[in-house]
């Protein structure tokens, strides 16, 4: 059963990956190629580009990715729990609630520290 399903996924993954490559190669054959330096320069609202594009950004943005990672892991723990939910007892539910509450403390901490503000 597992082999049946994942074999299809494997075959499809190869096809889905090759398909855009093949079409891109095909358009490379038929499209016009008349490039010039001006055309290939970086776009910046029609004016000359100022400085390098890879500039320093504020680390504030990083915090969102960080909080996301923590909640993502939480989801990985809770999905098997949800699947097993009908089979487990009341005590297990209490444990899961404690688990969620500990993470909720993290969310509230981030909230208090203004880590959830986009500035």
């Amino acid at each position: 059963m597992l082999v049946q399903q994942y074999g299809l996924i494997g075959v499809f993954a190869v096809i889905a990956f090759l398909f855009p490559i093949v079409t891109l190669a095909f358009t490379w054959l038929i499209r016009p190629k008349r490039s010039n330096p001006l055309k290939n320069s970086t776009y910046e609202c029609g004016i000359e580009t100022v400085g390098d594009a890879w500039v320093q950004f504020r680390a504030q943005y990083y915090l969102f990715a960080l909080i996301f990672v923590v909640f993502d892991i939480e989801a990985i723990f809770l999905f098997p729990f949800a699947v097993a939910f009908n089979k487990i007892g009341l005590f297990a539910l209490v444990e899961a609630i404690i688990f969620v509450f500990i993470l909720l403390v993290g969310l509230i901490y981030a909230w208090k520290k203004n880590a959830l503000e986009w500035q």
Partner: protein, 395 residues
């Protein structure tokens, strides 16, 4: 006509021709994969026309109407144009990453088609971790946009990349929480099993009647996941020109465009599967082909709602959007998850459980709306605070 019987008779025919078993399996897989691919591409072509038509009607225009009857051939003309356009790669761009990004964007969206059940057991791969599969390959899309944003070496593109991280990653959490609640109710991550659990006459077994607030949560978060207005800040034309795909042209741009439309379709299909019974409908059990019809009907209605919202609403500001996700949707999702878990463990008869779930959902939904409403009302008197950045309610 039974679709599964058709497939089985085809396998039997191949085996009768004396082809070894392994090859039959391989032929089967390749044919199945090609079928899913063709369905996805035809859908993309049709969806572009459908959305443009809806947007046109909403805004009191006609939409495409020149090429073919009702402009139906228009997307083909567009595709042909994009195929033959000159493709510009900026000199400064990081070439490998720049070319890889659209490929990954298409790859991830096509993979998502594999686990969506079109009718009972008519699904590419009927795996037990279907919901996780959606989350896993959905996350690849974020990565494709990040790659595009970084490799273009353009300030707007990089800024778009940062917004991608902020928006798509953040809104993945409410989507995941909504899916988690449904999984808990059904006790399975298999999407076909989830759809099967929503039988009943006239759609009374649909989970949207039991978990309305969870559906609202999913829908709002899905609007953001699909980069649709009012959450389309990734490619806000008036702010960051086009965001991560600013330097892309011709076919590479077309791939991002296609991924965008198919993404919305997949989000609608998942909404239908999780909350609106998937392929369930009158006589679908007797006649599986009807299941396909019902499924597509529901998905196109759902897609219509997505397109309708996109054509109607103005755009939010980015700080409002991030606050809304983390300070309203995530707490609401966690509260729903815990409340549903507790109600399910009370051990009431199933009718009473369902009624109680509905009440709990409505209460949480209105409590969230009330808190948000109070907060915005507060703000209109207090001009120093930023609109729509709710603070922790005092307990």
């Amino acid at each position: 006509m039974d679709l599964r019987a058709l497939g089985e008779s085809f396998i039997a025919m191949l085996e009768n021709m004396g082809i070894p078993e392994g090859w039959v399996l391989l032929i089967n897989w390749v044919l199945g994969a090609l079928a899913v691919l063709v369905v996805a591409l035809l859908l993309a072509i049709f969806l572009i026309w459908y959305e443009r038509k809806i947007a046109g009607r909403v805004q009191d225009r006609l939409g495409p109407n020149r090429v073919g009857p009702w402009g139906l051939i228009q997307p083909f003309a567009d595709a042909l144009k994009l195929l033959t356009k000159e493709d510009i790669t900026p000199d400064k761009a990081d070439r490998i990453t720049y070319n890889l990004a659209p490929i990954i964007a298409v790859f991830h969206i096509l993979m998502l088609f594999l686990v969506i059940p079109f009718a009972d057991k008519v699904v590419g791969a009927n795996i037990n971790v279907g919901v996780l599969f959606l989350m896993a390959f959905g996350a690849l899309g974020t990565l494709a946009m990040l790659m595009a944003g970084w490799s273009s070496r353009n300030k707007y593109a990089l800024l778009g990349g940062f917004r991608v991280v902020a928006q798509l990653l953040s809104y993945e959490i409410p989507v995941g929480l909504a899916m988690l609640t449904v999984v808990m109710l059904r006790g399975s991550m298999n999407l076909n099993t989830i759809a099967q659990g929503q039988g009943g006459v006239f759609g009374l077994g649909w989970y949207v009647w039991i978990l309305p607030a969870v559906f609202v949560l999913y829908f709002v978060a899905a609007l953001a996941e699909g980069e649709r207005a009012p959450f389309d800040l990734l490619e806000a034309e008036s702010e960051i020109v086009a965001g991560y795909n600013i330097e892309y042209s011709a076919m590479k741009f077309a791939w991002f465009y296609l991924a965008f439309f198919l993404n919305t379709w997949v989000l609608s299909a998942v909404a239908v599967t999780l909350f609106f019974g998937g392929w369930q409908g009158p006589f679908a059990a007797q006649l599986p082909i009807l299941g396909v019809f019902y499924f597509f009907l529901k998905v196109f209605i759902m897609f219509f709602v997505f397109a309708w919202v996109r054509a109607t609403f103005p755009r939010l500001r980015i700080d409002q959007m991030m606050s809304f996700c983390w300070k309203a949707l995530v707490p609401m999702g966690l509260a729903l998850f815990l409340a549903v878990a507790i109600v399910l463990k009370l051990g009431l008869p199933s009718a009473a459980t369902n009624a109680l779930l509905f009440i709990v959902n409505v209460v949480i939904l209105f409590a969230t709306l009330k808190l948000l409403g109070n907060y915005t009302k507060d703000l209109s008197h207090n001009k120093n605070k930023r609109l729509f950045a709710p603070e922790l309610p005092r307990l």
